[in-house]
């Protein structure tokens, strides 16, 4: 029975390991080419108007076929330079052990009812400093912002 158990475990590890890599042969939401600013790449994605209130609570996905959940949008703030940042809880498991980080709105895209982070990989997001509210002001829910689009990843 033991060798069969080992094979089964290996198969399951292979199966779920695939999810972690999740190579997308036809990706959507790819990062801007080197040298291009976030604002420029957002402008290329036909940004569409959306009320800030509609963004709150939205899930944030990784732009890969397995659509890994990176976190959820907890707030939208403006920093002292006027840049709009999306505050999301990132990391952890099912809400435990996550921390708040602030991602520039221009780094994100809309994907139907969800959002994706296009400009940063999860590895890069992990190195973001924890979000501190000082120096930022929340953007009112009625404010309309413009967010770029992306096609689904496969």
């Amino acid at each position: 029975m033991r060798p069969r158990f080992a094979v089964t475990t290996a198969c399951l590890a292979l199966l779920f390991g695939q999810a972690a890599q999740a190579q997308s042969p036809t990706p959507g939401g790819m990062p801007p080419p080197p040298g291009m600013s976030l604002a420029q790449s957002n402008a290329m994605r036909f940004p569409q108007p959306i009320r800030v209130g509609q963004l709150l609570g939205r899930v944030v996905l990784q732009p890969v076929e397995s659509q890994t959940v990176l976190g959820h949008i907890r707030g939208v703030v403006r920093d002292n330079q006027g840049q709009v940042l999306v505050v999301m809880n990132f990391g952890g498991f099912l809400g435990f052990g996550s921390r708040l980080i602030a991602v520039p709105l221009d780094a994100m895209v809309l994907l139907g009812e969800a959002t994706e982070v296009a400009a940063f990989t999860p590895q890069q997001l992990r190195r973001f400093a924890a979000f501190t509210p000082s120096g930022t002001t929340p953007v009112p829910a009625e404010t309309v912002v413009k967010v770029g689009l992306a096609k689904p990843s496969h």
């Binding site: 042969p25 036809t26 990706p27 959507g28 939401g29 790819m30 080419p33 291009m36 290329m44 994605r45 036909f46 569409q48 108007p49 959306i50 509609q54 809309l110 994907l111 139907g112 009812e113 770029g148 689009l149 992306a150 096609k151 689904p152 496969h154």
Partner: protein, 257 residues
Amino acid sequence: MRSRVRPNDFSSAGAFELHRPLIKSLERRGLLRAGLSLGALTLLTGCDVKRPEAVEAALLAISRMNDGVQALLFDPNHLAPTYPEAMILRPPKFNAYYDVMDVKPVDGSTWRLELAGLIAEKRPWTLPDLQAMPQRSMVIRHVCVEGWDYIGGWTGVPLRSFLERVGADLSAKYVAFKTADDYPSSIDMATALHPQTLLALQYGGDTLADPFGYPVRLRMATKLGYKNPKWVTAIEVTNTYPGGYWEKLGFPWFGGI
């Protein structure tokens, strides 16, 4: 022969680089026979692995049979469920066979809808011409073959009214569409005449935005998303099977929901 609808300029080098994996993948998929993965193949006894073309041909034959079954299941009097306007997703979900940066916006003031085939009045239409026709609105569920869906609201000219106005042969089999993004599509006449098939000009009460097909897209409530072309530039009524972009790659033609 130069296509009337081919874009005049190619993508910028940067965008091309970005999509190299996509292009490679499309090339691979176009050439790959039967799309079988070896792992699963070994489970099939009696399957001739050396001639996957035969398997592919058999699957496509069954797919064509399924088109016939779908045509039988299509009830021209059955309306798709509709929903309250508050449920409309704004903006809707974008999809194409390329990412959104490669959308080529159409100039509505110079846009013309060309007509061809079994149509009596083949004079091209302008956008104001279409806007002058009686419009219908519907809030329906968009279902993508990929598996996702959303509630969307479209306003436009019922395709039936349009076809009647231009003297189309309503006993013909197919209505075919050409688009500004090289995405041909075609549908059966029964679906074309369905009350929830529109030449859509608006989404959610506003003019269609560029990424969503401005100035005109086809919007049906009874077919999967990929059957609804955006940036329509020509309509043809014909009895010759016109096919479509995804059908060439193996997807079913009827695509009904």
